[in-house]
């Protein structure tokens, strides 16, 4: 009796606790992505580190960890300067330093960080800025450099910089290879914010560099969105028509029920299976035939006979078709028969009833279907790897040449880009912040696409209730 009473008092709390736990997890996920992803673009302070061995180098602190072999701590620095031949492990950009070997840490204001391609970041001193016979040094050189970089790329002077790593020889750096410069230790808070916003902007608007471990993700954003849109354009009419057939036209007997069960089960098929199907049926089947018939001039190099935007979108359409059918059908089933009969009794034909009464009433359900489909499609990676996603696609699938949308092209995708950055880059340390930033972006894109549909649905509902 007593235990029963306790249970009666407890169960609402249990339910509330599970909600709280889900919210907490969601919050944690977003916080992690936000801090790690967005923090990456913040201009971190640079340190000039002097070791007990007498060596000096400059770098950005990444994190600290326990020493692997003895007690004590070590610290990871980002040092850049891949072209510095004096660095003992040539070509690496990160360096672990045991804390007990550090003699001195300073933060000199004149330390600069240059973003360059090739060779990645430079951290060290800017000695001189040479332009048409004129040589500026130190602060004057920095000012000339900032001014030069403020110009658009083609208007910059053809200057040469003299750079000196703290632990190596000075060398000449053409300005043309530098695209960004900062002196984080000397920056005001406001200019840091501006630098950060500029960094985020570049991340969103530029292509990847350095084997996807640097640069931006614009082609991947673009590819993801275009792919999702093409997918929606294909799946929505099909799904809605199928749902209309199942709910409005087909007689409700055993076979219809069987079809319905089949459709529902299709939604549970692992996505990679769809990828395999897309590869076999679309790419090798239809694609190869299309090539033989229409693009035989360019054979043996395939046009449609290889993965591409069209096949990827089609594959994902198949993947999301069950979701669309089920959600639309539920919407149709919720419409009372009285509405249909009301229209029919006024002399409407079956088609008129459908287009004027049933479909407008089912529009919110169709938007729900679209939301579910988009959420599913934007996050799928596995099937795409078989049917058209590329590690690095030189051209986005939309451009100014006819037919503007190039369905046969391979495209980049944020989900796959994430996977590729995380596992296939040459430097895990460099990839980590980009992985977080890309993941955040993927979440945001799905969120934006969904919110659009949700607002549209809300608007339709409001309009219906109050018009």
């Amino acid at each position: 009796m007593n235990r029963k009473a306790a249970w009666h008092g407890l169960w609402p709390w249990l339910c509330a606790a599970s909600v709280a736990l889900s919210l907490l997890l969601l919050g944690l996920l977003l916080t992690l992505l936000l801090t790690r992803g967005l923090g990456h673009f913040w201009p971190a302070p640079l340190e000039a580190v002097t070791l007990t061995s007498g060596e000096t180098f400059a770098g950005e602190v990444i994190r600290e960890a326990e020493l692997p072999d003895r007690s004590g701590q070590e610290r990871l620095y980002f040092i850049g300067n891949r072209d510095n031949s004096a660095q003992d492990s040539h070509g690496t950009r990160f360096r672990w330093v045991s804390l007990d070997t550090i003699l001195k840490r300073e933060a000199p204001a004149q330390l600069v960080r240059l973003s360059r391609s090739p060779w990645g970041d430079f951290i060290g001193q800017l000695e001189a800025f040479e332009h048409s016979g004129q040589r500026l040094e130190d602060n004057a050189a920095w000012q000339a450099l900032s001014q030069a970089l403020a110009q658009p790329k083609n208007a910059r002077p053809n200057a040469r910089l003299t750079l000196r790593p703290l632990n190596g020889e000075a060398f000449i750096q053409p300005l043309a290879e530098v695209y960004r410069a900062s002196r984080p230790n000397a920056m005001s808070w406001l200019s840091k914010v501006r630098y950060w916003a500029d960094g985020v902007g570049r991340f969103l608007s530029q292509g990847p560099r350095a084997a996807n471990t640097g640069g931006g993700v614009w082609p991947a954003i673009f590819g993801t969105v275009v792919m999702v849109i093409v997918m929606s354009v294909i799946v929505m009419p099909f799904g809605v028509l199928a749902a209309i057939y199942l709910n409005e036209i087909a007689q409700q007997h055993r076979f219809t029920r069987l079809v319905r069960i089949g459709v529902r089960n299709l939604a549970g098929v692992p996505s990679i299976v769809y990828g395999v199907f897309g590869l076999g049926a679309f790419v090798y089947g239809i694609g190869a035939t299309v090539d033989e018939w229409f693009f035989s001039a360019s054979l043996p190099s395939p046009t449609f006979g290889t993965g591409g935007l069209l096949w990827a979108s089609l594959t994902l359409s198949l993947l999301t078709l069950p979701v669309v059918i089920v959600a639309t059908e539920e919407g149709l089933a919720r419409i009372p028969d009285a509405q249909r009969e009301g229209a029919v009794a006024l002399g409407a034909t079956r088609l008129e009833t459908l287009t004027r009464v049933v479909l407008p009433m089912a529009a919110p359900a169709m938007l729900t279907a679209l939301i579910l489909a988009v959420a599913r499609a934007a996050g799928e990676v596995a099937p795409l790897m078989l049917v058209g996603v590329a590690k690095l696609a030189p051209q986005v699938p939309v451009d100014a040449t006819f037919p503007y949308l190039h369905l046969e092209r391979k495209f980049m995708h944020l989900g796959y880009h994430l996977f590729d950055t995380a596992f296939h880059g040459d430097s895990v340390q460099a990839a980590i912040p980009l992985v977080y930033a890309t993941a955040l972006l993927l979440v945001l894109i799905v969120l934006v696409l969904n919110l659009t549909a949700i607002f549209l649905r809300h608007y339709l509902r409001r309009k219906r209730a109050t018009t």
Partner: protein, 265 residues
């Protein structure tokens, strides 16, 4: 069994007959709902159908405008003639038939559109009218349904914001707008308050001069008040049919009397 076949008590001259039902039987998936119904429905009169719940009144009304076509489980025998023409003839335009035989359902079913669009719905289907003419017809229909004064300032707000009684009158206006010859009313006042009910009853009296009304009701007083002829249906059979005066004051059959007095208390 005592419910021997009853010949209809009233027949009308063909020129006064709007609907002529002959030997109508109907079954839902083999389960009979109407059994050999034969009766005539007079033009420009109100004919009421009364009978216990589940006796087949709604089923009969739906047969008259072929609404059962939507349900593939329904089987039918017998003949229904509208203005002398068999409504099941192959050349019948069903949509046109349903326009001419309008129906108002038991529960108000306005579309999720504005009041204006609800009334315009049937007109738009025919798409014959210019906007000005359409506006006129809509005003006429709303006035005929005694709704105009209540909604004239909010024609473009949602019909779902109206009260139940207003919605039912809106549905009547929607049906009237396409100028039907017959109006089938399936318990139009069953969900309404007394005042709305009264309004709809007055409305029926007014409409009688323009069209033929068929009314299904559980309310004996209502049937007695508004109808000219009354048919008593039980278990899918027509038990007794006559002028409302006869049926209510001087029924020929015991069953009819029992039902009416039972319902009236």
């Amino acid at each position: 069994m005592t419910n021997a076949v009853t010949t209809p008590a009233v027949r009308f001259a063909p020129e006064h007959t709007s609907l002529c039902i002959e030997g109508l039987s109907l079954a839902y998936a083999g389960k009979p709902a109407l059994d050999e119904l034969t009766l005539d429905i007079p033009r420009h009169r109100i004919t009421a159908f009364i009978g216990p719940s589940g006796c087949g009144k709604s089923t009969l009304l739906r047969a008259l405008n072929r609404l059962h076509d939507l349900n593939p489980d329904v089987t039918r025998q017998g003949r229904i003639a509208f203005e002398g023409e068999d409504i099941h003839a192959a050349h019948t335009d069903v949509a046109e038939l349903r326009r001419r035989i309008g129906m108002v359902f038991q529960a108000p079913n306005p579309f999720p559109m504005s009041i204006y669009e609800n009334v315009a719905f049937g007109l738009r289907l025919q798409n014959r009218l210019k906007k000005r003419q359409r506006d006129d017809v809509i005003e006429w229909a709303l006035r005929s349904a005694a709704l105009w004064d209540e909604v004239k300032d909010r024609l473009h707000t949602s019909a779902w914001q109206l009260s139940g009684g207003q919605q039912q009158r809106l549905v009547i206006a929607r049906t009237l707008a396409v100028k039907p010859d017959i109006l089938l009313l399936d318990e139009p006042a069953s969900a309404l308050d007394p005042i709305s009910t009264l309004k709809i009853e007055e409305l029926m009296g007014d409409l009688k001069h323009q069209l033929t009304l068929v009314l299904v009701t559980h309310n004996m007083q209502q049937a007695a008040r508004v109808s000219d002829y009354t048919a008593f249906v039980d278990h899918g059979r027509l038990i007794e049919y006559g002028t409302t005066d006869d049926i209510f004051t001087n029924p020929r059959l015991r069953r009819t009397e029992n039902y009416i007095t039972g319902r009236m208390n």
